[in-house]
């Protein structure tokens, strides 16, 4: 495969679609599929045939606004329909070329206008199961350009210049990581894509893998060229069957097109990728545990150093990046590192995908430039808290992120700013809570998650999270004392600073941040036996008048 051949495929694909007057795109991500968007797509295709219209009905990936699914986008008019079902198919096809259907139309300009799509540029646009669709949208151009016109070091320089930082949560500079692996000596090197997205309420990686799998594969291939690797693994959760199926199909198609395998682009570069399925352990998202899991061992983290860059999979130098990190690579190579560095804030460049969930109007996936304020994400793009309730807190970064109150909403979203206020960027989960949530109970919920997901290797995490959970349960039941609060703070400090891996080191974050910003709720529970949100069931409530 050469760039000229790539152009031919792109031309042919575009010409094929140009034959149609209009296109109906139907979202077939997991969210919309659960609302039977597959049946809707079949019905639309049937109606197009029955009504004799020259219209193409396309399966696409996630369009972002998952709460309003199934979503249908009519092109080129850019009419978005929400909650469209099989029964609406006839009307939708009839309306083509005429007036749009008012009742179904979704007009959320504010939701979309504030977003900048880099990772999600093809999501909801291309058919994720057709490699030619991806090629028609500049797919694999970056890989072939890198192979023919750039040195491995040149690729790394572009990535370094872009300022891209690891999107899995750690925020480690991607270019620096690539450079380290490139310099490491080894007869064989590996590239691993971490798709073990285990945070409750997070679905960024799933959506990318479901909507645009080729982009991740291309990113991995470019990385392999840059660091000198010849084999790759994608580690995906088994709980993501659709993502796995689409990845498998994509790998097969890429091999058939000569974009994976031996002598890619008629160069000496050879690279292939295998899929490994996770077995449901949250801790396997931690890189050393993930590597152990791929090796067929029990998924438990190891102390670092040695870092995987030096001694990773089977003791070989290994580059391990998150799905979203790899998804950023192709555009960076295509448009240059400077272009990417032009977006975002001071030390956090580019865009970030967030999964907005919880008490928010527009539940779904958004991609925004770094540095945008939390308030803008939640109130403008997210549409605010629904049903007249009052915003209380937002938790960023998954189960081990902190809960931030209203007063913190004006901070710009970046790795450093979030860390400073006691939370983390994490992988991009964003859970919004309103006045019906009790923050003590929320802290208890997340520590319970970390407790059950602790691998049991190191004592602070294994026993510390269990003790924290017991103490928080005691407070929620109305039996807590002020001494318990001191003990909780002491334990949090120990668990945070003495645990082996990121799971334990960040597990106390929800407790510490709620203690910092919502201490009055803890005191209410302890001294007044009162849960203002009405979540905790306290037996003593009647005996002690509030």
């Amino acid at each position: 495969m050469t760039i000229e051949e790539l152009d031919q495929i792109a031309e042919a694909t575009r010409a094929e679609y140009a034959k149609y007057d209009q296109e109906i795109n139907v979202c077939m991500g997991t969210g919309c599929l659960s609302q039977h968007s597959d049946q809707l797509k079949d019905a639309l295709a049937k109606q197009v045939e029955a009504q004799g219209k020259n219209v193409f009905v396309r399966r696409t990936g996630c369009m972002g606004l998952c709460a309003a699914g199934p979503l249908v986008l009519v092109d080129p008019d850019e009419i978005l329909y929400q909650q469209a079902h099989e029964k609406h198919a006839e009307a939708i096809v009839k309306s083509l070329g005429g007036e749009p259907i008012k009742e179904l139309q979704c007009d959320l300009r504010e939701h979309f206008d504030q977003q900048v799509h880099v990772v999600l540029e093809n999501s909801g646009v291309i058919d994720p199961e057709k490699i030619d669709d991806y090629i028609a949208h500049d797919g694999y151009r970056a890989l072939l350009t890198a192979l023919s016109d750039m040195t491995p070091n040149g690729v790394i320089r572009q990535v370094t210049e872009s300022g891209l930082r690891g999107r899995g949560g750690g925020g480690y500079p991607t270019g620096l990581k690539w450079g380290t692996v490139a310099k490491a000596t080894g007869d064989i090197k590996y590239v691993i894509c971490n798709g073990d997205e285990g945070d409750p309420g997070a679905f960024m990686d799933r959506s990318v893998l479901e909507s645009d799998p080729q982009r991740v594969i291309e990113g991995m291939a470019i990385a392999a060229y840059a660091v000198g690797a010849s084999r790759g693994y994608i580690y995906v959760r088994a709980e993501y069957p659709l993502a796995v199926a689409r990845l498998q199909a994509s790998l097969r198609d890429a091999r058939r097109r000569g974009l994976l395998g031996n002598n890619i682009g008629n160069t000496p570069f050879s690279f292939d990728v295998e899929i490994r399925l996770g077995a449901g352990a949250f801790v396997c998202g931690e890189e050393t545990a993930l590597i152990a899991s791929i090796e067929g061992r029990r998924g438990m983290p190891k102390p670092r150093p040695p870092y995987p860059a030096v001694s990773g999979l089977w003791g070989k130098p290994t580059l391990i990046n998150n799905v979203e990190t790899f998804a950023n690579i192709a555009p960076i190579i295509r448009k240059g590192g400077k272009w990417f560095a032009g977006m975002g804030s001071d030390r956090s460049k580019g865009t970030k995908v967030f999964a907005l969930t919880g008490k928010i109007t527009n539940t779904g996936l958004v991609e925004v430039p770094m540095g945008i304020s939390l308030r803008q994400i939640i109130e403008v793009i997210g549409g605010g808290v629904p049903d007249g309730h009052k915003f209380k807190a937002v938790q960023t970064g998954g189960p081990s992120g902190g809960c931030l109150p209203e007063s913190m909403l004006d901070i710009g979203v970046s790795y450093d700013a979030l860390l400073k206020v006691g939370s983390i960027m994490g992988s991009g989960g964003m859970i919004v809570m309103d006045d019906t949530s009790c923050m003590v109970n929320v802290a208890k919920f997340f520590i319970e998650f970390c407790m059950t997901e602790s691998c049991g290797k190191c004592i602070p995490c294994r026993a510390g999270t269990a003790q924290l959970h017991a103490l928080l349960s005691k407070i929620c039941a109305g039996n807590g004392t002020m001494e318990d609060l001191e003990l909780i703070e002491d334990l949090c400090d120990t668990v945070k600073n003495s645990s082996l891996c990121g799971l334990g080191q960040t597990a106390p974050n929800p407790v510490l941040s709620t203690l910092k910003y919502f201490r009055n709720e803890y005191i209410d529970h302890i001294l007044h036996k009162r849960c203002t949100a009405g979540v905790c069931n306290m037996k003593a409530e009647e005996e002690v008048p509030a």
């Binding site: 190891k302 102390p303 691998c455 294994r462 026993a463 269990a466 003790q467 334990l491 082996l500």
Partner: protein
């Protein structure tokens, strides 16, 4: 640079010491009579850095490092016994005592238990945390030895000695978090497992979790010191 000059000098607890490249902080400290507490570490076994008792402070880094696996570098300044570290150590020991059912008075290892000794050394006088009191089994199916899960601290010394030294690998771990337990073979009774009855696991167990049935009540301290000797003999061969 040849091998001959790969000597590092560093400071541990304000004492200037020298070390070979690749040595761990723990090795160097012990060579110089600086005591760093450990539970999961044992001379002669691979290190896992799990108990977190050997965490030390490194000047210029806000991350604490486990001395058993962290290697030395030139000009490193290590503190092994700060107030903060002592507090973490006491808390970790407290977590261990509250986690399972450690009743020293009726334990076969009373008086020569590493956990007990460590608690005394670290000045742990009482446990503030609520005891978890889990219901745990005792596996007495083996003809010579007994495994009492109530006294296990999951240091995995038994797992490592069986896999690394004996080569039988009958021990491993099962379950997550608090439910994590040592199992023999694929969670079968120890007596029915592929155990070679060598008894190494019993000798390296720091508590009374693994004990010799014939020596109950005879005040027999365990003797894990055979490991470095065994390794040395094997290397020499």
């Amino acid at each position: 640079m040849s091998d001959a000059v790969e000597v590092k000098t560093l400071i541990i607890d304000e004492q200037e010491v020298s070390a070979r490249r690749g040595q761990t902080i723990l090795e160097v400290a012990r060579e110089n009579d600086i005591n760093i507490p450990t539970l999961c570490h044992l001379d002669g076994l691979g290190d896992v850095g799990a108990c977190r008792l050997c965490l030390v402070e490194i000047k210029g880094s806000n991350k604490l490092l486990p001395a058993c696996v962290a290697t030395v570098y030139e000009g490193m300044e290590v503190s092994t016994n700060t107030e903060r570290l002592r507090r973490y150590r006491r808390n970790i020991l407290e977590l261990l005592f509250a986690e399972r059912n450690h009743t020293c008075a009726v334990c076969v290892s009373n008086g020569h238990c590493e956990l007990q000794t460590m608690a005394q050394e670290q000045g742990l006088t009482h446990v503030r945390l609520p005891y978890r009191n889990p219901e745990l089994a005792v596996d007495a199916s083996h003809e010579r030895f007994t495994l009492d899960h109530n006294r296990c601290i999951l240091c995995t010394r038994c797992v490592r000695v069986c896999a690394e030294i004996e080569g039988a690998h009958i021990w491993d771990l099962m379950g997550r978090g608090e439910a994590c337990t040592v199992i023999s073979d694929l969670h079968e009774e120890w007596g029915k497992s592929a155990c070679t009855r060598c008894g190494k696991c019993v000798q390296v167990c720091p508590t009374g979790a693994l004990f010799d049935k014939s020596k109950v009540g005879s005040d027999q301290p365990k003797n894990p010191d055979f490991l470095p000797y065994l390794n040395l003999m094997r290397e020499a061969r």
